[in-house]
Symmetry: C2
Amino acid sequence: MTESKDVNAGSTASKERVAQFNQRFDFGSYAETRQFLDELAELSKRDDYYPDVSFGKTYANISIDGEGQAALREMNSTFIADMQALVTKTKN
Amino acid sequence: MTESKDVNAGSTASKERVAQFNQRFDFGSYAETRQFLDELAELSKRDDYYPDVSFGKTYANISIDGEGQAALREMNSTFIADMQALVTKTKN
């Protein structure tokens, strides 16, 4: 997950007019975290879209910047909704 | 990957005397990134140690804080060396 430095604020400001999408998911076990990450990988391959992901034993944080959100909109992708649906499925 | 806030600087300073270990690996394809992450998961299960990982399509960044490094030393784990060896294997 990269942070934009002030020195580039001008050039990145226009690109980042849309706020970055960040969502954290917490899981009950590492196995659940892995299952989510594996299924997220399938979504990424389906849409050829690869968000920035950070994870540990029982959490995953997904970040999608303004550019990424625009790209997903352009291809009418349901990536975000499908990702959120994965979590409800993983936890049942 | 969490950043320590100033308000807790006192309490985290002692824990973070050892500098955080950060290593970024860049890959030629998403398939290589996935292979590395899958093999890293096996190392994590072997040592019951789960570093903070952030990744995108063709990179992975591994962070191990002072506490994690102390835990790995205590169990004479070769986690870091084995992780680095994975990369040379993944890229061949």
